[in-house]
Amino acid sequence: MATPMLRWCCPGRRWIFAGIGGGSRHGRGVPTGSTSSGKRGQSSVAQQPLITAQKPRKGEREWAAVVGLEIHAQIASNSKLFSGSQVDFAAPPNSLVSFFDASLPGTLPVLNRRCVEAAVMTGLALDCHINRKSLFDRKHYFYADLPAGYQITQQRLPIAVNGSLAYSVCVGQRWSQMVTRTVGVKQIQLEQDSGKSLHDNLRSQTLIDLNRAGVGLLEVVLEPDMSCGEEAAAAIRELQLILQALGTSQANMAEGQLRVDANISVHHPGEPLGVRTEVKNLNSARFLAKAIDYEIQRQISELENGGKILNETRSFDYKLGCTVPMRDKEGKQDYRFMPEPNLPPLLLYDSGSLPTGADPQQVIDIDQLREQLPELPRVTREKLVRQYGMRPEHSFALLNEVGLLEFFQNVMKETRAEPKKVTSWVLNTFLGFLKQQNLAVSESPVTPSALAELLDLLDRKAISSSAAKQAQCVKTRKNSILIKGGLPPHLQPHLTVSGGHKVPGTQRTLTNKHPEG
């Protein structure tokens, strides 16, 4: 059986696959593939050279995969994109629905300034060109959770274009071997979210919740510059961090604040791109990577076996770990795009073009937003490396967990311990403990001060390393860690994790500020 085999994956830009004994086969799904090019195995696709660590065996042909992503990020704003309804994901169904959200006839959209600012800030953070004039369009389709029968989006002239997103992936087995890659940001557009359909199969009913209808989304389109699931996942992770740093989106994938669709195709290097499929319903970075890699394999397998790739939408079944075609009765949709007549062109200004005497509430100054941009994760990491002599991968790890960097910095403020030691403690012992207890950093029973204290004790060699590790895990019912300073070695056993036992001989109480514990 000619099972396609994954020959090797990154460090190249692309995955190289080799179908065993499949040298002469051509996927009929590749519409314009030239079978007589004779340029087998040559890497002439795209700008990035194809790095081949291993030469394909004679008679085998390489495959290159191309992955592009479309991301929908819910904008963190108090009200919806075009109405005054509140945005709150925990509200009872249909409790946050304005007349506009329910598409009552005669209602009109009014653009939310905060959403525009979020889009501009995101565009600036991704090195985009911010269009001084952008337009809104209607995209039509009938669906029960789309009350107006169209979605207002920015198809023709989006708010931001031509940016880039730098992300890092490991290239070897070791974390330390990280390389930075860049993916192009084609565009960022503002658009409305739809409502939610809740299918009650028992009663064959569909219930509609319009709370989400009209919530502002940033659609970020990433160029097909990626070639495997890992790259896509890393790019998404970095985008998440950027959105969170900007505060433009909570970007939590599990909660649907960040939704990713992947466009995937495979082709022989040197030949035109293959037919692509779109994979939807990817609600975690891990599943995104899995789904993409599965889909790449599937396509290769399909083509190697003389099959054809259909331009279709597939969804990822995370239980089975595979992609399946989505049932689409309608077939191909024609969205009948049309300019949204109720919204004038969105005009943005910079400090040079700001109209004199303009009401500051009515105009948006790009330069002013640029000044307000917070430090981006990339810069934060560089600073950590510079300031503490930290290894780059540790800087990544510190940023990857919400609140961990702040925790680290707070520990640093209060301890005399070496940064290296603190980093190691925070990333290994502390984080390991949290993972084990399934806690978020904000839920940690250990305060930065407590850890700082502990590290100081350790530094003074007042306690041993293993005792300190145990001490960290101790918590009491009063949510505090009790440590006796200058504890003699024979008392160490008292510090073992003991389900809230009090440490005898307490001299000081380090209070935990967090309510949980």
């Binding site: 007349f99 329910a102 598409s103 009552l104 006839p105 005669g106 209602t107 009109l108 959209p109 009014v110 653009l111 209607r138 039509h140 009938f142 029960a144 009350p147 107006a148 029968g149 169209y150 569909t206 509609i208 009765k329 024609d334 969205y335 009948r336 795009f337 049309m338 007549p341 109720n342 919204l343 004038p344 009515q362």
Partner: protein
């Protein structure tokens, strides 16, 4: 009292010659008497009487809210009215009671106006006759006027007068008829291609289409968002100015309204027109124009010239493309705007529950009439990916050229354009329905729709009666946002031509007999 203008009756209210409740009751009783006109879809009697009571209290305390306090008004049934059914004369919205007021309705109510009811129209304002709504056609009050009847008696004998009634024009025919038949003092219409000016001309009232962006569309159930403007139907130009002064201005709920503050204004009485330049667009002299309208048009031009105004022939070269361009843009927006009527959130829903798709299809099949469905179908065709460039984009370009025609003319020093409003006077219903809706709309909107594409203000002012004793109106078109200047010129003209008041006394006296006859004839309508 009911025959007075808004200004006059407002003065009478202030002087205590009449109370709001008396006025309201008189209008209500006339609405009942003229029910056969079919001008109203919903008569909001209770609401009006309650509002009258409130108004009366204010007058007693000397705390009148202004010129509109206690004045009976009517609103076209495509403006949302909180708590009052708003149907758009369509099965789709039968029984739909909006939870909010359109901004223009709210503004009228805030001024103390009394809402008499919701007026009839073509379904979703798609038409130029007020004949194509589910509640049946509107009858032109002039059909029953002394002026028309006397002429008819001379001409033809023995014909059944009542079966030969005239259309009002449309689509705001109900509002025009309501004002013309004295059942209210002002009414709101909507104007997308001439829907306010056309019935105004046919019913002998003043129909104003303000500049696009001057008056909020929030709550107006749209036909073509980029062309719709709330319009006014009044007995005189001054009244139009009064109502416009109240309606105009920025609305945070409509992003296409102008930001600049608009102050209420009163029109100056122009005495000298020698500094005016009146443009006569030569392309508007079409063969289809009736000789009577043509001669009145030149008479009007001569009037201005004889009083010292400069009257020049101008060219709007892209006029002939306006109808087809309008068709593409209108149907495309209609296709889009009507997508929301799917039976889910509000309005009609069919009994089919096989699938959501089947429910959509049946609901829309049952809810919309042929005219609406035809426009949806055409519009979706024009918006298809393969057609978009060839139709929609081209039509947008032509629209720009049409708009530029006007800009060029106004830049050349013309202050106001003078044109006919309609090809002829109102025609009998029997004659009107010989053509289909699309052909009729194309014919009847010829002088009016280019104005909507350019977003300009325009007003139809009744000039004289035709040989048949029917009103003929002429249209003035002004520069964008120069509505006040436009109305000032219109007021001067109105004063000069002294259009006769409709003589409905006969109707009022024996309307009960007409009503009885009509009742039999119109049983099948509802």
């Amino acid at each position: 009292m009911l025959g007075r203008t808004l200004r006059e009756v407002s003065a009478a209210l202030k002087q205590g010659q009449v109370t709001p409740t008396e006025l309201c009751q008189r209008c209500l009783s006339l609405i009942k008497k003229t029910k056969f006109l079919n001008a109203y879809i919903t008569v909001s009697e209770e609401v009006a009487l309650k509002q009258a009571e409130e108004s009366e209290k204010r007058y007693k305390k000397g705390l009148s809210l202004g010129d509109l306090d206690g004045i009976p008004v009517a609103v076209k049934d495509n403006f949302s009215t909180a708590g009052i059914e708003t149907t758009c004369a369509s099965n789709m919205l039968k029984g739909y009671v909006p939870p909010y007021n359109a901004t223009v309705v709210q503004k009228l109510l805030d001024q103390g106006a009394l809402l008499m009811g919701k007026t009839n129209l073509d379904e979703f304002a798609m038409g130029s006759g007020s004949t194509d709504g589910i509640f049946g056609p509107v009858k032109n009050p002039w059909s029953y006027s002394k002026q028309y009847r006397e002429k008819r008696k001379q001409k033809s004998h023995g014909e059944n007068e009542d079966s030969d009634w005239l259309i009002t024009g449309g689509s705001s025919g109900g509002s025009a008829a309501a004002v013309s038949a004295f059942t209210c003092f002002a009414a709101l219409g909507s104007d997308t291609g001439g829907s306010t000016r056309n019935p105004a001309a046919h019913c002998g009232v003043v129909g104003l289409k303000p500049s696009y962006g001057l008056v909020s569309r929030h709550g107006l159930i749209p036909l073509v968002n980029s062309m719709d403007v709330p319009g006014t139907l009044t007995r005189c130009v001054d009244d139009a100015a009064t109502v416009l002064g109240i309606l105009a201005g920025h609305d945070p709920k409509d992003s296409t309204t102008i930001q600049d503050p608009v102050k209420p204004f009163t029109l100056p009485s122009l005495t000298d027109v020698s500094k005016l330049c009146i443009g006569i667009p030569k392309e508007y002299l079409t063969p289809a124009l009736s000789s009577e309208v043509r001669s009145l048009w030149s008479k009007a031009a001569n009037l201005f010239e004889s009083e010292g105004a400069k009257v020049i022939e101008v060219s709007l070269p892209h006029t002939s493309y306006s109808i087809v361009c309008y068709h593409v843009l209108c149907t495309s927006e209609v296709a889009s705007n009507m997508a929301r009527f799917d039976g889910l959130e509000y309005g009609h829903r069919c009994d089919t529950d096989v699938s959501t798709e089947a429910m959509y299809a049946a609901t829309r099949r049952e809810g919309f009439n042929d005219v609406v469905r035809e426009r949806i179908l055409s519009g979706n065709f024009f918006l298809l990916k393969e057609n978009y460039e060839n139709y929609f984009v081209k039509a947008q370009k032509v629209r720009r050229l049409i708009a530029r025609d006007f800009v060029n003319v106004f830049n050349s020093g013309v202050d106001v354009l003078l044109t006919p409003t309609t090809l002829s006077e109102a025609v009998p219903h029997t004659e009107f329905i010989r053509e289909d809706n699309r052909t009729r709309s194309a014919q009847n909107d010829i002088f009016t729709q280019a104005v909507n594409m350019a977003g300009l203000p325009a007003v139809s002012v009744p000039m004289a009666l035709s040989s048949q004793g029917l009103p003929i109106g002429l249209q003035f078109i002004g520069r964008a946002f120069c509505d006040q200047q436009l109305l000032t010129v219109a007021k001067w003209f109105e004063k000069r031509v002294q259009f006769p008041v409709i003589q409905l006394q006969e109707l009022m006296d024996d309307c009960s007999s007409i009503f009885e006859n009509e009742k039999l004839a119109s049983v099948s309508l509802k």
